[in-house]
Symmetry: C2
Subunit: 760 residues, 2 copies
């Protein structure tokens, strides 16, 4: 077991790493050349058009004003300065609610840490429970003396831990409830103050049954004219534009290559760039790069406009789903919340997400497909979680020194160098696992996509749930009860229900030092690395040197990124879990978690203000998930404490502890009934108020024109922009994403053809 | 273990009992004096006004036509004759759907029994697995040779049982799905063909928030005028009429006593009946019975009309709930399915049940109360189920011979008679348990009432669920794993998840003979007893001799009763459970279950046609519960078979058996998504069709007048009837329940005062 010294060394290393990252960031961010990496949000909002320039030519790229280096930690107070309502305007409600998860952590754990250190640490420390172990030559450290392990079996001091468990439960529930209430209110307020948006009037209808006598467009029109006669306004058919998307993507890649060649030519005007036509551009005939790619791009452009024409005029590509818009928000709210026909699997209605949140590829999936896909993904996820070690172990067995030598004999002399050999042998087995873990969020995201969700926000929410489950089983349980997840599952099935919490509970205090190290590496250094944005920095500079010619190109090269709910939130939840589990057992963990929450809050607040550009605005729709997971963590912590205490001959406390999970589950149900509807439905009263206000303010507003093409496939919307050929001339064309005051997506009605033939 | 002979004897006894009941019924039913007991339905429908008379004076009471005795089993084919659509018209959809549960049993178990007897019985019989037991002097019977126990461990013959399990699962699911589909269709058809009813236009609003500036009536009016401007029509306030109900009940009892005294006087004109005023009419001053009760009834009548006046004019008694009616079914469907305000616990809307189905006492309960009550009832039910033996054991310990001798010393010589002593000692301990089990459905019903459901149908559904759970734990598990429910719970908690199905599974084959006897006693004899209606028969004749003076009194003395969903359905479900569990283990049980289902179907069909008068019509809303319980039974049977086979060293089959519960749960989810909405919501398309038809047929129908007072408290509706004083004169007044074509409750608009002051 680690001593305080070991922990001290680990802490020092991690603090130095984190400080190095922060220092690097502080230096990089004030270099004008990095401006678009560290402040892309301001460019997107149109508040900054090019890098700040302080002096002559050199200062265009490097900051020569040495005074600014002294104030290098300035960003921290600056990040905290912007008040919350302004931040909602600046970055949207999603980001603000996301930041509140960190605040929630501080609110929950700060008082708990204070109480734990004043009340529990002395109780644990002034015991000699662990001294017994000396007789058995089992070593222990001072850290362990702070934990519950130090109390001898059956001691009356366990009442303190019991009271602490009650205090933790009530405090956590109190904070959770207040937070749920606040965020529900913020969401409702946000929706109430929100400007007119297409999704307020629109409902997504799926599983439109086929009819031999009518086309889908006619069916939709007739159905809603009959069943919502007073409220129905118009609809937007959904096209299956997969081919178009592919073409556009290819054209973009070709355009990049063309740009690269043109840039090459411009730098070296004497000879035109030459490319090879064969495999990967390594062999084959030679050709003029610029000419070749220009012709390819032109061909693709032609194909794209043909495909667009085909989609616009034909009806064969229309899928059995539609965006139906209503005259009032009230009408849309009614349609979204009611069942339309006898068969609940046909004409399924739901609130349409924002246009930019829609994931168009899944709109066409029929009901039965969805069920089958859900089943397949469920099974796949089960195997992924419990058996992911099998393929990795297989790869590891292949990727050893001998395997490499066999596959690439020419590397043999290099590998046989002793120093390199030990590095490879040490790192290689781990690399397969690391790569897998790096790709895991993407795999989970692909699973969600396959499962058939129709909005990016729900895709991310589902992926987050799965990622959390994976971490819970493989990181949390996997570290405590050593062994693969499947071995655990098997042993749990063969244990009695009473024994499971015992088995896990017993090992908890012993793993405290491991988790402290984990928090420092994954939490502290990870967060500091996040603010440095090393990957976007490199990619931006690469793009900048090879692809960028115009200011618009530079804008496209800027990748502000998003908060990444599907990876970030499960990570935070792991800290909630660790904090709650260890609060009553080894409170020494709490300060480390508090530092994480504090640092992460400042860093992410800075990023939200200056960097991230959310792809959609769901108005904090993910909060019920956050709440549910914290409650789950609370219940898990209670069960494990119960298991731990029962092995400590303090079984008298079991009935008292058994009440806690029941109370917590009751609390969760109450919160769910009380606050969850605010995140799912749109109350009619709210809709009516907004409708009435609108009618008074703008009685003659042309809603139909406003809604037209709002939900057209993104490629159609892009298609109305100037073609790439024209782009070459227009050097200062407006940025592609028109910035509006809040949230912002392009909603100016574009004059386009009716996407479905007129209906008699 | 019982031999075939023992079973034969038990079967003979039970068959004789059942036949005796049936014979008694056959004789009783053709006596004109019992006509109102055995054919009350026809009286209620107005198709029979007085007993069939075949001859002179004597034949008014006793059937002297001896030919009719020969055809005494005629009722059986007659009961089966009426076609289903006619039965829907005659008795309502609830009864027809209820009968289909028995049919479902026949449909599921008849083919299974055929296959089991042709395929499995030979496989089980031609083994010598049980012969081993001879060495250990363990006796077994021929019955056991038919079961899975007879197959030696690890035999490949278990593949037959595995296939059988698959066949049972697929067949049961197939039948269940088809039945769910049929019944959903029947329900939708029934609702579509239904005549105009107040509940189609009405929504129950609860938890209306209080407002210091407006009364509840004003609040409701304003809220719905604002938020449903195009559809809102009117509303009906709900009064807290508990006091009125009590007064009416007391008057009814007093009226009965008055009638009794008048009757007594009429029979013996010479002396007027005298009553004593003291405790229970046993002591105290004497008074003239007729005069006394007349004055009491008059006083109560005055009080009742005062109370009614108070409720009508005052607003203090109005509770924060209201029945809000809409101009169209569409408007009501929308309001019922949507959330009204930000706070989901205020202005909670739901479909109003039929007026006669409403349970008025619970309408006023606020949201928080409901939650607390649910918690209390949940805890109470847990203790009732797992600890019910404790108070009974306590009573049993008191109710022994010595206890009785101490309490009533004068009984001592009687008790000391040896014969009586042994009877008392034998029966007394059982009596406390029997009484408890008799009262259990009532206790569960009271629990549901306390829990706060607002319609009788939902009360019955919840009580049925609880009764089923109780039977599952205490009858099914309690018989298999001997011991009280709490001991079981404790041992399950201390066993591994894998071991629980094993423990139960092993004992299953051994308990086959016990359950065969149970089926014969509880099922066969019970059903035959049901048709005899002994209790209503006795009560009717008692009432007839003491209380009845007019034809109307006789009508009131008739108690047709109802199907009793809350007691009947859980009983059937127990047979489904037994059938599914034993189908693959000891198929010998199946014929007994088939006989039960067949007999019960005929008997209940007869009762539905001739006797029962449903108190409400929920259009088969209980079917999802029925379906869910059969699916649960199927999953339980699969798990137990898995446990049983794993102890038989046939663990190779475990993975194959593990697939079955997963498939079944998937099937259940599919059915739930696909068919359950038909039992919960009213699709807008259906509402629109009926609205449109109505508008065409009767464009000038006065809906407001039609709906007025439809949902008034029943005492208000009764109050519009002639007062009891007038009743004395009107000998042939129309029956209280006006019979309409189907279902039938009084819905003629009564001219009454507006129950809430007019709103400006």
């Amino acid at each position: 077991m680690a001593t305080i010294n070991d922990i001290g060394v680990a802490a020092a290393i991690n603090i130095v790493t984190a400080l190095a990252f922060l220092l690097a960031f502080a230096i990089f961010r004030i270099q004008p050349v990095n401006d678009r990496v560290y402040f892309p949000k301001w460019y997107l909002k149109g508040l900054r058009s090019s890098s700040i320039q302080t002096g002559g030519f050199g200062s265009k790229f490097i900051n020569l004003d040495f005074r600014s280096y002294i104030r290098f930690l300035n960003w921290m107070p600056e990040a905290l300065k912007m008040p919350e309502p302004e931040l909602v305007d600046h970055a949207g409600l999603d980001s603000v609610v996301y930041l509140r998860i960190y605040l929630l952590g501080l609110k929950i754990f700060f008082p708990i840490a204070c109480v734990a250190f004043t009340a529990m640490v002395p109780v644990n420390w002034t015991n000699k429970g662990l001294d017994r172990l000396r007789h058995y030559n089992i070593s222990f450290s001072d850290i362990d003396k702070l934990s519950l392990s130090n109390i001898p079996n059956g001691s009356p001091r366990f009442w303190v831990h019991l009271c602490m468990a009650y205090a933790i439960t009530f405090w956590t529930c109190f904070i959770l409830k207040r937070e749920y209430q606040n965020i529900a209110l913020m969401r409702l307020q946000f929706l109430a103050n929100d400007q007119r948006r297409p999704n307020q009037f629109t409902v997504l209808v799926r599983n439109i049954p086929s009819d031999p006598h009518e086309s889908i467009c006619e069916l939709v029109e007739h159905f809603f004219k009959v069943n919502h006669p007073d409220h129905y306004l118009t609809f937007q058919a959904v096209h299956d534009a997969t081919k178009l998307s592919e073409l556009v993507l290819t054209r973009k890649q070709m355009q990049n290559l063309l740009d690269y060649n043109i840039n090459k030519h411009m730098r070296n005007q004497s000879n035109r760039p030459v490319i090879k036509m064969g495999f990967l551009g390594c062999c084959g005939e030679e050709a003029d790069g610029i000419k070749y790619y220009t012709s390819v791009v032109e061909g693709l452009t032609r194909e794209i406009s043909e495909e667009k024409q085909r989609l616009r005029t034909g009806t064969k590509s229309i899928v059995p789903a539609a965006f139906v818009s209503f005259k009032t928000r009230w009408g849309a709210a009614v349609c979204a919340q009611t069942q339309q026909t006898r068969n609940p699997t046909e004409w399924v209605t739901e609130w349409a997400a924002e246009p930019r949140d829609i994931y168009y590829d899944n709109l066409a999936l029929p009901y039965v497909d969805l069920k089958i896909r859900r089943l397949i993904v469920g099974v796949a996820y089960f195997f992924l979680t419990f058996f992911f070690m099998i393929p990795i172990a297989f790869v590891q067995s292949l990727a050893n020194i001998e395997g490499i030598e066999k596959a690439f004999p020419f590397l043999k002399p290099l590998i046989e160098v002793k120093f390199l050999k030990s590095i490879i042998q040490g790192f290689l087995p781990g690399i397969a696992l690391k790569i897998f873990l790096l790709f895991l969020p993407r795999i989970l995201m692909q699973m969600s996509k396959f499962e058939g969700f129709v909005s990016t926000s729900s895709l991310e929410r589902r992926a987050a749930t799965r990622f959390y489950m994976f971490q819970f089983i493989n990181v949390f349980l996997g570290s405590i009860v050593t062994g693969t997840a499947f071995q655990q599952l098997n042993s749990f099935l063969n244990q009695s229900a009473n024994d499971i919490p015992k088995t896990i509970g017993v090992s908890i205090p012993m793993k405290a030092t491991f988790f402290i190290t984990y928090i420092m590496v994954d939490g502290w250094a990870g967060v500091a690395g996040e603010i440095l944005r090393l990957k976007p920095l490199i990619i931006y500079h690469l793009k900048n040197s090879f692809l960028v010619r115009t200011e618009k190109d530079r804008e496209e090269a800027t990748d502000p990124g998003t908060i990444g709910f599907n990876t970030g939130e499960p990570q935070i939840q792991l800290y909630f879990l660790l904090g709650l589990v260890y609060a009553a057992v080894s409170p020494i963990l709490l300060p480390f978690i508090l530092v994480f929450f504090g640092l992460a809050f400042v860093v992410y607040r800075h990023q939200v203000i200056n960097v991230y550009n959310q792809k959609y605005e769901s108005a904090g729709k993910f909060w019920p998930d956050v709440h549910r997971r914290v409650v789950t963590a609370l219940v898990v912590s209670q069960l494990l404490l119960m298991g731990l205490l029962s092995t400590k001959h303090a079984s008298k406390s079991t009935p008292l502890l058994l009440v806690l999970p029941l109370l917590t589950i009751g609390f969760h149900k109450h919160c769910k009934n009380r606050y969850q509807p605010a995140f799912v439905t749109y109350p009619l009263q709210e809709a009516m108020i907004k409708d009435t206000l609108d009618r008074i303010r703008e009685p003659n507003f042309n809603l139909k024109a406003f809604l037209r093409d709002a939900y057209a496939h993104p490629e159609f919307r892009v298609g109305e922009d100037p073609e790439p050929e024209e782009k070459l001339e227009s050097d200062m064309s407006p940025p592609e994403l028109v910035a509006t005051k809040r949230g912002s997506w392009r909603n100016t009605p574009l004059p386009s053809k009716q996407s479905c033939r007129d209906i008699p």
